[in-house]
């Protein structure tokens, strides 16, 4: 049991590290790997507050956009490499998370989601009226790389390894939180906030902490996006579709599970790219039809995501996660 698990882990690591080398003959497939990782970063960041704490934010694009704009502003207004804007974006996002989170995290369920949508749309509209941010037309990063620090490469390989490192760091942090006191509190809040409060868990504080952490990493994903694509406008930075994609990816894989968002990204990003490549030329917009269908299917048949399929198998008829209280068994509950 242990050895086969180890083997699987080893195989995953080898595949993850070797992927861009194996696909170096096809820039499209190589880039697809980087796109999956980038999507997995923002969806995993969302997972901290949306999955573990159960606060379904549908306005996370706010932080993604702040990260992307921070990077482009560092270039356009300060003439710095875009990536130097990333820490500023993360700090700003944490600040915005506090300002938005303190009042809205008091709301429960749908009301919190609705409030985050409202904030997201507000920021999108505001950004499109700001000349400093390029208005509705948006801002472009360095047209031609000046130094390697501009992170503007022809090949997707450098992006792939940068994204892989960031995702590994983020998942490591999430794994640590999962096992820490905060992780237990968050799960308690998710199951029943009232019960958690009655047991002395400071629900408001932990939800806010999760929200801040989530915002910081979503913002980092935005900065990395800007480095790779070199352009941001209000729609691609703050558009609601971005927020929805984070939610759908995490939900498809398994919200509140360590690898859930990554699994979701592994399925949805290639699906989106391939369907657009194969069918987009006809102008049918089939990608969005597929997206819609998947949301409906998850909601109906797999409310706890694909990973819940794996977990059910060893414990037929019972809920897998609470059945095994020993964290050392490796359950990512």
């Amino acid at each position: 049991m242990m050895t086969s698990r180890r083997l699987l882990q080893l195989a995953v690591i080898v595949v993850a590290l070797a992927y861009p080398i194996v696909t170096s003959g096809s820039p499209v497939w190589q880039r697809l790997g980087a796109l999956v990782l980038l999507a997995a970063i923002s969806a995993s960041a969302w997972n901290i507050v949306g999955g573990y704490a159960g606060q379904v934010s549908v306005g996370h694009a706010v932080f993604f956009g702040i990260g992307a704009y921070a990077a482009v502003v560092a270039f356009v207004h300060l003439d710095l490499p875009p990536i130097l804007g990333a820490p500023i974006g993360m700090l700003l996002s944490v600040a915005v998370a506090v300002v938005v989170g303190v009042p809205t995290l008091r709301l429960s369920g749908h009301y919190f989601s609705m409030a985050t949508i409202a904030v997201g749309e507000l920021v999108r509209v505001l950004s499109s009226t700001s000349d400093w941010l390029g208005g509705a037309q948006g801002l472009g990063g360095p047209a031609m790389p000046r130094t390697v620090f501009d992170l503007s490469f022809v090949s997707a390989m450098p992006y792939y390894y940068i994204f892989l490192a960031v995702l590994t760091g983020l998942l490591g942090l999430t794994w640590w939180i999962e096992r820490s006191r905060m992780g237990f509190y968050l799960r308690a809040i998710k199951d029943s906030e009232r019960a958690a409060r009655s047991l002395g868990v400071s629900a408001g504080r932990y939800k806010l902490h999760a929200y801040m952490l989530s915002a910081a990493f979503t913002s980092l994903a935005g900065s990395l996006y800007l480095c790779m694509f070199g352009f941001i406008d209000p729609e691609s930075g703050f558009g609601i579709l971005l927020s929805v994609k984070m939610v759908v990816m995490a939900a498809l894989g398994g919200a509140g599970q360590l690898f859930g968002p990554l699994i979701g990204a592994l399925i949805l990003v290639p699906l989106e790219e391939l369907s657009n490549s194969l069918l987009g030329g006809q102008g049918a917009g089939i990608t969005f039809v597929v997206y819609g269908a998947i949301i409906v299917i998850i909601a109906r048949f797999l409310p706890s995501g694909l990973l819940s399929l794996l977990e059910r198998r060893p414990h037929p008829g019972t809920k897998a996660a609470p059945a095994n209280p020993n964290p050392a068994s490796g359950h990512a509950d």
Binding site: L35, Q137, F229, G230, F231, S236, N276, S277, G285
Partner: protein, 420 residues
């Protein structure tokens, strides 16, 4: 044994034939990547542009006898410079997002091995998509994006055919100076513009060009877009009473200004508009009869019967099953014909040779579908001969009145406007 060898022979012959076939095919086809928003917000504009490019490919591949008399490239039978190679379009959807635009451009270049790219309608997507083409050294022809910074990036593989705000401003000033020479009063100009990106930037460019050309802008009125009341602005105009008023407005404001000017019964000598709201079918249908003599601009007008524009209009109508060419699709078709002409002159699918041919492009005005003075690129890849047709409202519809060579009706001034 006999059987085996026969089989081997057959397989060998078949594979030889196959190899031969692919060899020939590789020579006979020039692949061009076409990137437009086929889904998302701008899908309707993207689809008309895509159809215009398809029409362009039909013109080159199949030809049109009538058009061939005016344009050598329309003789049919493919590109004569490449021994009759046919153009094959590889069409991709940019989904209205800069990210998808870039991903698809990479696919078209590295997987489909296109020799050149055309697209991508929205300025932001053109920006990200052309950055990939630049890195891979593939020519990128942009027929319709107007953001000024696109040609300020120092790119070597980017060519923009469409005129930008400065070209429109030059067309306006040339038009107004001609009226002045004909004895009409154009001494005082007022610019009225909405205050978002579009209105501010276009108004700024026009004011600059007019100042350089010696036209006096005496009033510059900014108002907030989607106003509910523009009486104060119109009263300002009425007080100063300029000879020429130029509006830069979206549809609802255009309608409101027209109604308010009528209510306050004030007309300038010449009323002009920078397309957009005033060219919108919604405006033309509801207000067209109230603004007899209004001057606007368009990249396209069908022109005189038998002209290139008129023939292309008819061909496009046949293809679309109804709608004719418009400001957007005419520019896309023009962009494609510029690219096809360059590939034909390059006589090769080698991107570097196509780039060199594009740089050497020099198309005269009489070869244009759109209302340009021709196509010739500067060092930044901007078409320096981009211009605009001046159109005038007559009996509820626009007709081209300037320049004379492309006019189908005589200019009638002063502005007549509403009749009680």
């Amino acid at each position: 044994m006999v059987q085996l060898s026969r089989r081997a022979l057959t397989v060998g012959a078949a594979s030889a034939a196959f190899a031969f076939a692919t060899d020939v095919a590789a020579e006979e086809v020039v692949k061009i990547g076409v990137l437009y928003p086929l889904s998302g917000n701008a899908a309707s504009a993207g689809n008309t542009s895509k159809m215009a490019v398809e029409l362009g490919a039909d013109i080159v591949n199949k030809g049109d006898p009538e058009l061939a008399k005016l344009m050598p490239i329309a003789r049919g039978g493919g590109l004569s410079g490449l021994k009759g190679a046919k153009i094959q379009l590889v069409i991709a959807d940019n989904q209205g997002t800069p990210a998808a635009g870039q991903n698809q451009t990479l696919r078209l270049i590295t997987q489909e091995k296109v020799a050149a790219m055309i697209g991508a309608y929205q300025s932001g997507i053109t920006l990200t998509a052309s950055a990939v083409a630049e890195k891979y050294g593939i020519p990128f022809v942009n027929p319709e994006s107007v953001a000024a910074n696109l040609t300020e990036r120092g790119f070597k593989w980017f060519f923009r055919v469409t005129p930008v705000a400065a070209d429109f401003a030059k067309a306006y000033s040339a038009f107004l100076k001609e009226q002045k020479a004909a004895g009409r009063k154009v001494d005082a100009v007022a610019i009225v513009h909405e205050n978002t990106e579009y209105g501010n930037s276009v108004a700024g460019v026009i004011a600059d060009v007019f100042a350089k050309e010696g036209l006096k802008v005496m009033q510059n009125i900014a108002y907030s877009a989607n106003s509910t009341d523009v009486q104060p602005e119109v009263l300002q105009l009425k007080e100063k009473n300029p000879d020429v008023v130029l509006f830069i407005s979206y549809t609802s404001d255009a309608i409101l200004y027209t109604k308010t000017m009528k209510a306050l019964n004030w007309k300038p000598e010449i009323m002009m508009a920078d397309a957009s709201g005033f060219n919108d079918q919604a405006y033309v249908k509801s207000m067209g009869r109230e603004v007899e003599g209004l001057i606007s601009r368009s990249a396209f007008a069908p022109g005189k019967p038998g002209s290139i524009a008129a023939i292309c209009e008819a061909l496009y109508k046949k293809k679309s099953g109804g709608d004719g060419l418009d400001d957007g699709s005419a520019r896309s078709l023009e962009g494609f014909l510029v690219l096809a002409d360059a590939i034909n002159r390059a006589g090769s699918t080698d991107p570097a040779k196509i780039q060199a041919a594009l740089k050497a492009t020099n198309m005269p005005a009489d070869q244009m579908v759109a209302g340009y003075n021709g196509v010739k690129f500067d060092a930044k890849g901007q078409n320096t001969l981009g211009s605009s047709l001046i159109i005038q409202m007559r009996n509820g519809d626009y007709v081209p009145v300037w320049p004379k060579a492309k006019a189908t009706a005589d200019l009638v001034l002063p502005f007549k406007g509403w009749t009680k």
